[in-house]
């Protein structure tokens, strides 16, 4: 009894239907969620190459002790821009890209709720990023680190305009992020297909939904801090200058009140992508949708109560540190439940080792490893030892690269056929996976040891102490393996676009609605849409003899 209904109520009717071969102007003026999503993804890849290039420059400088390949000013600008780029201009646009492209398709809508706001958000992100990078031409990029601590960010200590570009650029990009988040929330609330309840949306959509609230709550704290630092720098106010009564710690509180939620903003969409990937390639429903979905809300709420774990060493006292250590450890509970749920999804399945699935499996192990080092930091006395060393750098690259970026790669391989109509080259993809994974672990596993033997982070060079040179060199080798892998990825994308295998509508035997609409859907996504009655609507269509809505599954 699967009615296929006209989709007129499943979203706005399109303004006009564009033809496929669009010219540049049509891209620029586009308000179509798929085109904007694609532009976000391209922006993200562009900045991944730039930020990765900066990482390679850093690793080159650090390959040997007492190196003079980069000057200290250059190195500091580069690591600051690397961190800022990767967090704000790679992770965020990638999330918004996949979200924009996939959320309407997965909930059976024809577009986002506010198409013009959507375009506005994209261009704000682009302009913010452009402004950040313009600083290289305008007297020096920001060089106070991605968290830009006061009072180093004050005019007395950073008289170049770099920090101003940092503040204004991130404010503008932040406005874009907030606009995008509002758009996602309204879209998911109002544009779901007939019958799809809010507790039935695909997990990726749910994660984007939670993520959007996280963005709405976290970014204003950063915006307030950035506004204050500009007040200080331009109008001689005294927020963060302790000499005139300000407080250096206020900046840290405000930044991390944003910063810790931000790392989960980067992580949650990848959780969503992996949830889709695990259930598709295990050919089984996800294990305990309820747990995965509600634990992500727990993570979102908890993430606002743990920011002091970045400030354990500033001397707030044992009481404050102890409570925040406890809160930070608590996050391991909802996260651990997720990891176990994904393992339980694979258990008893019939696992197809496609490239997205390989990324997902590598992610599980790497994320557990990075999570355990995170819990290690939550043990306050150990954090006193390890904070601000390469051990921290290793922890968060295991999370950001081995967690979030692996998720984005998995999403790229998983949805590439939907976006372009072609499969992303399997052979090159396998090369890319192994090179990147091995390179990644080579780079960052050894950095844990570097931290343990006493190497602080953010040093432009280091003395020739025993072991430092060798390990840094190994780390640099790994980084160049990742660089090679990234080149292979770019080649693979170009090759697949030109001469890839034509994918068809449903290459992975998917279970959610984005595989129901055409490959490379036109201006209007759905002409017809099935009545949604379960969490796997496309499965129900394919298996009328055993649909989900007859047998409750999770």
């Amino acid at each position: 009894m699967d009615e296929i209904m006209p989709s007129s109520f499943a979203g706005a009717t399109p303004v006009r239907v564009l033809n496929r071969d669009q010219k540049l102007l049509q891209w620029i003026s586009s308000v179509d969620h798929k085109q904007i999503g694609t532009m976000y993804l391209l922006l993200s890849i562009l900045f991944l190459v730039i930020g990765g290039g900066e990482a390679l420059l850093m690793r080159t400088q650090l390959a040997i002790p007492n190196n003079h390949f980069l000057s200290p000013e250059a190195y500091n600008q580069i690591f600051t821009m690397h961190g800022t780029t990767m967090v704000f201009l790679v992770a965020m646009p990638a999330i918004f890209g996949f979200g924009n492209y996939m959320v309407p398709l997965m909930i059976g809508a024809n577009d986002m709720a506010f198409p013009r706001l959507n375009a506005f958000s994209f261009w704000m992100t682009l302009f913010g990023g452009g402004l950040l990078y313009f600083s290289f031409l305008a007297g020096g990029a920001p060089d106070a680190g991605w968290f830009n601590y006061a009072p180093l960010n004050e005019y007395n200590y950073s008289s170049r305009p770099g920090v101003d570009y940092f503040a204004i650029g991130l404010l503008i990009a932040g406005i874009g992020s907030v606009g995008g988040a509002i758009n996602f929330i309204v879209t998911i609330l109002y544009y779901r297909a007939k019958g799809m309840k809010l507790n039935q949306v695909p997990l990726f959509v749910w994660m984007i939904f939670v993520d959007s609230f996280l963005i709405l709550a976290a970014f204003p704290c950063l915006n307030a801090a950035l506004a204050m630092i500009e007040m200080d720098r331009q109008f001689h106010a005294h927020f963060f200058n302790s000499a005139s009564g300000g407080s250096a710690l206020l900046w840290q509180h405000l930044f991390w009140l944003f910063g810790h939620p931000e790392v989960y903003v980067a992580m949650l969409p990848s959780f969503g992508i992996f949830s889709e990937v695990f259930q598709t390639f295990s050919r089984k429903p996800i294990f305990s949708y309820a747990i995965i979905a509600s634990s992500s809300v727990a993570i979102a709420l908890l993430s606002f109560g743990v920011w002091v774990h970045h400030m354990f060493a500033v001397g707030l006292g044992n009481t404050v540190n102890g409570f925040f250590g406890a809160a930070s450890m608590l996050i391991a509970i909802p996260t651990g439940i997720k990891v176990f749920s994904w393992m339980a999804t694979m258990y008893g399945g019939s696992i197809r080792f496609s490239i997205p699935m390989m990324f997902a499996i590598a992610f599980l192990i790497q994320f557990t490893f990075g999570g355990l080092t995170g819990v290690l930091f939550a043990i306050v006395p150990i954090d006193w030892q390890l904070t601000d060393t390469y051990f921290v750098v290793a922890h968060f690259h295991y999370m950001f690269v081995g967690g979030a970026v692996f998720g984005l790669f998995a999403g790229l391989f998983y949805w590439f056929p939907k976006i372009t109509g072609k499969m992303l080259d399997q052979k090159l993809g396998t090369w890319f996976f192994w090179l990147f994974t091995i390179g990644f672990n080579t780079t960052f596993l050894i950095q844990h040891v570097l931290g343990l033997i006493g190497m602080p982070r953010r040093v432009w060079t280091y003395p020739d102490l025993p072991g430092y040179g060798v390990m840094n060199f190994i780390s640099t080798l790994g980084a160049f393996m990742m660089g090679t892998a990234a080149l292979i990825l770019i080649v693979a994308i170009l090759k697949s676009l030109r001469s890839g295998v034509v994918a068809g509508k449903d290459p992975w035997d998917g279970v959610t609605l984005e595989w129901y609409c055409d490959p490379q859907p036109g201006r209007k996504n759905f002409d017809k849409i099935p009545l949604v009655r379960s969490r796997r609507p496309f499965w129900d269509l394919k298996h009328p003899e055993n649909p989900d809505w007859k047998n409750a599954r999770s």
Binding site: L189, Y289, I291, S294, G305, A327, W549, A552
Partner: protein, 275 residues
């Protein structure tokens, strides 16, 4: 000086309050259903613990952290349990009241949050303990202000919990709204906890200049090393982290129930209903 365990205390006003709660429960049709009665009794025991036990004694006389602990127990544990204990006997007024509250959720929300904030405004807070308003444990007199403070916290706590765990199941807030309702309250509790945690000494003066009438001060300051500053920080942090954890647990519990609902649905239900 006796052992701490022996410092239990109730005055006439609080006894009256406790009795009237039982009375109200009876009038609302309580003492019938066994499962509900257990919940109510659990809440009642917690209520007594936080207004009559040595915890309360410590909170009145020595430790701000104990004071906050009893707040958290009162508002976040006792009050919701009392509400959970009320059976749904299909009474029309009850249904109407629940529906009205859920239609205007900002009312119970504001009452819960504002009353809690009100009692922590330093002026008000310090006034609670002034000699003019006798302290529990002193001979004679009813500590009216202090009692009012407890009673108002319990009542607004009950009001606050009503839309989330109220007796009429159909009239509770929809899950997503309930989670937002709880999270928003959690944020404002956190802000209060944060303000107290990072406040310098000299704001909440009662606990800094303790007249050690019962002789426990050396034990607290000396043996346990709880200085006034640590005490104030613990107080703020208890409001902040365990407090938030309770809101969070409730939210996740609601979500789990919602996600585990049977999703079989009849043909063509309106898909906007749960907004």
């Amino acid at each position: 000086m006796h052992s701490l365990i022996t410092y239990w205390h109730l005055d006439i006003l609080m006894v009256g309050f406790l009795i009237s709660i039982c009375l109200a429960y009876y009038l609302l049709g309580g003492f019938v259903e066994n499962k509900k009665l257990k919940l109510f009794m659990a809440g009642y025991v917690l209520l007594i613990l936080s207004i009559a036990s040595p915890l309360h004694f410590l909170g009145e006389n020595y430790l701000m952290s104990a004071h906050m602990t009893s707040h958290v127990i009162l508002i976040l544990l006792a009050a919701p349990l009392l509400v959970l204990g009320i059976p749904d006997n299909g009474d029309k007024n009850m249904t109407r009241f629940s529906a009205w509250l859920s239609k205007h959720p900002w009312l119970p929300w504001m009452s819960g949050v504002c009353v809690m904030w009100f009692w922590h405004i330093p002026v008000v807070f310090n006034r609670l303990f002034l000699p003019g308003s006798p302290v529990v444990g002193a001979a004679g007199g009813i500590p009216v202000l202090s009692d009012l403070h407890l009673i108002s916290l319990v009542l607004t706590g009950i009001l606050f919990s009503w839309p989330v765990v109220g007796p009429v199941r159909q009239q509770r807030l929809p899950t997503v709204q309930a989670v937002l309702y709880l999270s928003a309250a959690c944020i404002f509790c956190s802000v209060l906890g944060l303000m107290i945690t990072f406040a310098p000494l000299g704001i909440y003066t009662h606990y800094e200049h303790i007249t050690d009438r019962f002789g426990f001060l050396p034990m607290i300051r000396g043996d346990h090393g709880i200085s006034a500053l640590i005490d104030q920080q613990v107080a703020g942090l208890i409001m902040w982290i365990p407090g938030c954890l309770i809101y969070l647990t409730a939210s996740v519990w609601l979500l789990m129930k919602w996600f585990k609902e049977k999703n079989n649905q009849t043909f063509l239900t309106s898909h906007k209903t749960e907004l």
